[in-house]
């Protein structure tokens, strides 16, 4: 009986015009576009310079600023206020104001000032922009110092950073494995959520309810197709990661598959629960959207999990996404073994047991 039910599900999916496209094309496109969008690297900071000094020093500094790859020099303005109006009309992000006597003060008084103003409505962008400028200014200051003081005292402590697991600090290496989880969540979460409710809206539910199909069989017949679809989606993800981004897991790919099997059961189960409670598409969609948004935002996908306040970490630890994202990143970047990931395995298995039992129980044949 289960076989026929699964056949029915697949027929329904593939007779729809839109669904097969979502299953095969959406992960592909999303994984090609998202890593470029979901990026906290700050580039193209547009800089306006007010040079009141007009000396070799000020010009040297301007040259260095405009040579930096993250900064784009967009305008030279005569006054600070005219530069400020560029920020107001969103044509510049940062102003550097070089005061009169910049060079003279440096040579005669060993000290000169400079003003760096950034538009900080977006805090990350504002502070990163300022940080880029400050680094250049401090390098410039050191170089000029060694020009003036011919022999600089050498020595001291050298601090050597080592960036383990991601030596080139490639942001995509970090995001791609986690975005696969997000895409899997969207497909294997929303489609089941809209599935049972669809049967209700079309009136099929009444017919299924009068057949001898038992509750567990019914839920299984809904879960297994998404299990297969999810496996296809995650495999597309692996291929895109491999051939578009050249990202290969350091650890064992079969461990990734093992965890994705478990994860799909959990997230599809969640969709089915909501679908059981909802009576219209709209309800199911909004409830699923509500939960998935919270699960994604609190899973550590975009922002570090440990920087959340402790109450938020408690809520976040109920998100299956949190554990699967950890697993993906650990296997892809660090090559963690199954033994090292046992805690995540147990937690995710218990999610599956609780969620899928709930899904079976929440399906009521009586209306």
């Amino acid at each position: 009986m289960l076989g026929y039910l699964i056949e029915k599900e697949f027929k329904q999916i593939f007779r729809d015009k839109f669904l097969p496209k979502i299953i095969f094309i959406f992960p592909f496109i999303a994984l090609i576009l998202l890593p470029f969008a979901a990026n906290y690297d700050i580039k193209n900071v547009r800089l306006a310079i007010v040079d009141n000094d007009n000396t070799t020093y000020s010009k040297g500094l301007i040259n260095r600023l405009s040579a930096n790859e993250s900064i784009t020099l967009t305008a030279m303005k005569p006054t600070y206020n005219s530069a400020l109006s560029l920020i107001q009309s969103d044509k510049a992000d940062m102003i550097i104001n070089i005061p009169k006597g910049f060079e003279k003060d440096f040579i005669t008084q060993k000290k000169s000032n400079i003003l760096v103003s950034t538009n900080s409505v977006n805090g990350i962008k504002g502070s990163m922009g300022a940080l880029y400028a400050l680094n250049i200014i401090s390098d410039f200051s050191n170089d000029k110092t060694s020009e003036v003081v011919s022999i600089q005292q050498k020595g001291g402590v050298e601090i050597k950073p080592l960036y383990q697991f991601n030596k080139e600090l490639n942001y995509k290496l970090f995001m791609v494995p986690a975005l696969m989880v997000m895409i899997l969540t969207i497909i294997c979460g929303f489609l089941p959520a809209l599935n049972i409710v669809g049967e209700k809206e079309k009136g099929n539910m009444e017919q299924i309810n009068v057949t001898p199909i038992t509750k567990p069989i019914f839920i299984l017949s809904k879960l297994i197709p998404y299990w297969i679809i999810g496996t296809i989606v995650i495999s597309i993800g692996f291929l895109v990661a491999r051939f578009v981004y050249g990202i290969i897991p350091v650890g064992n790919i079969f461990v990734v598959y093992l965890f994705s099997f478990i994860f799909i059961l959990a997230i599809s189960g969640l969709g089915l629960i909501l679908s059981n409670y909802a009576s219209t598409y709209q309800q199911a969609m909004f409830m699923m959207f509500f939960f998935i948004m919270i699960l994604i935002l609190m899973s550590g996908l975009y922002t570090p999990f440990n920087s959340m306040p402790s109450w938020a970490q408690v809520i976040g630890s109920f998100s299956p996404l949190k554990y699967f994202i950890e697993v993906m990143r650990n296997i892809y970047l660090k090559g963690s073994t199954l033994m090292e990931l046992l805690p995540q395995l147990y937690i995710m298995l218990s999610f599956v047991v609780v969620i899928d039992t709930w899904a079976v129980l929440s399906y009521r044949k009586k209306s």
């Binding site: 839109f18 669904l19 998202l34 470029f36 969008a37 906290y40 193209n44 900071v45 547009r46 009309s89 440096f106 060993k110 000032n113 400079i114 003003l115 760096v116 103003s117 950034t118 538009n119 900080s120 409505v121 805090g123 990350i124 502070s127 400028a133 401090s138 200051s141 110092t145 003036v148 003081v149 020595g155 001291g156 402590v157 050298e158 050597k160 950073p161 080592l162 960036y163 383990q164 697991f165 991601n166 030596k167 942001y171 970090f174 598409y281 709209q282 969609m285 909004f286 409830m287 959207f289 509500f290 935002l297 975009y302 570090p304 440990n306 920087s307 959340m308 650990n330 970047l333 963690s336």
Partner: protein
Amino acid sequence: MIKQLLSFIKKEFLHIFRDTWTMMIILALPVVMMLLFGYAVSTEIKNTNIGVLNLSKDEITNNIIQRLDKSEYFSLAKNYSSYNEVEHSFRRSEVGVVIVFDENFSENLLHLNKADVQIIADASDPNTARTLVSYVTNIVAQSLKDLNKTPQTNYQINPEVKLLYNPLMKSSYNFVPGVMGFILILVCAMMTSVSIVREKERGTMELLLVSPTRPIIIILAKVAPYFIISFINLLTILTVSYFVMGVPINGSLFWIFVLSIIYIFVSLSLGLLISTVAKTQLTALLFSGLILLMPAMLLSGMLFNVESMPLILQVISQFMPAKWFISAMRKLMIMGVDVKYVLKEMGVLVLMAVVFVTISLKKFKKRLE
């Protein structure tokens, strides 16, 4: 005709109010999003677990380690005795960063005036790793300076940094306009399209169309409730952000509302457009969810910085109504600039509304024949 319109609007409201779940989610969503973005999700790095491999074990290194542990950024989690343990510990995600002092650290520093410190960061997350390394570097440098172990140069340029409009670097200043842009398009576009397509799917649309009611009345009645709901959402967001999160409203409230109303119109017309294309609710939902909401979240500048993206994505983002709205709202609300600086954004939004309405009206008429 007005009476007819009013009774149709009443019918639509009844549809919405009878669906308690959706109603509750729609009203609670902006508040939950604001609270999540405001209090839970943060890119600040605090209390990272730090591991120490101290082979030198003397006063100077102990002093540095103490300082690291005391700072708000780190808490000392592990003390290793060999390199092997470090590797294993990283793979279990026990620590984010490890500082290594080799055996003769102090000796070298005292006698040769030159010593090495190694900082190993878990660079899975590059931004966090970069920030962690710079925090550790600063703390180490500061401790050594206090212990007078590092030479000082006299010449310096003193940069003064001004963080315009947001001196306390609150992330809420950035996301409140973003949440507005997102919620309004969610309510207007998604809900309007689904409510029209539902009538089609259930067959009640035919009934409405053969009635003496003019199609324009049906459409007006469809969009009116969502206009009101999104306006309520707008007020909720402004109230929560102003009174609870302390986000300033620096610009004129009048223009903030004008801008929002234009944007609501764009979103409603987009919803109308989707409803003319989609045949089933499922398609309408997935269409607006994947093609409208995901890009609205990712490419609008709400979460990520559009200027840092590759050119092609920047071009795509120009077609996102949310991008123009969020940019204008940031200027009006947070930067408090004069309305003349946002005329371009408003113009683009008006143009989008005109285009969407024209296309969907054309399609709507065709279907009548």
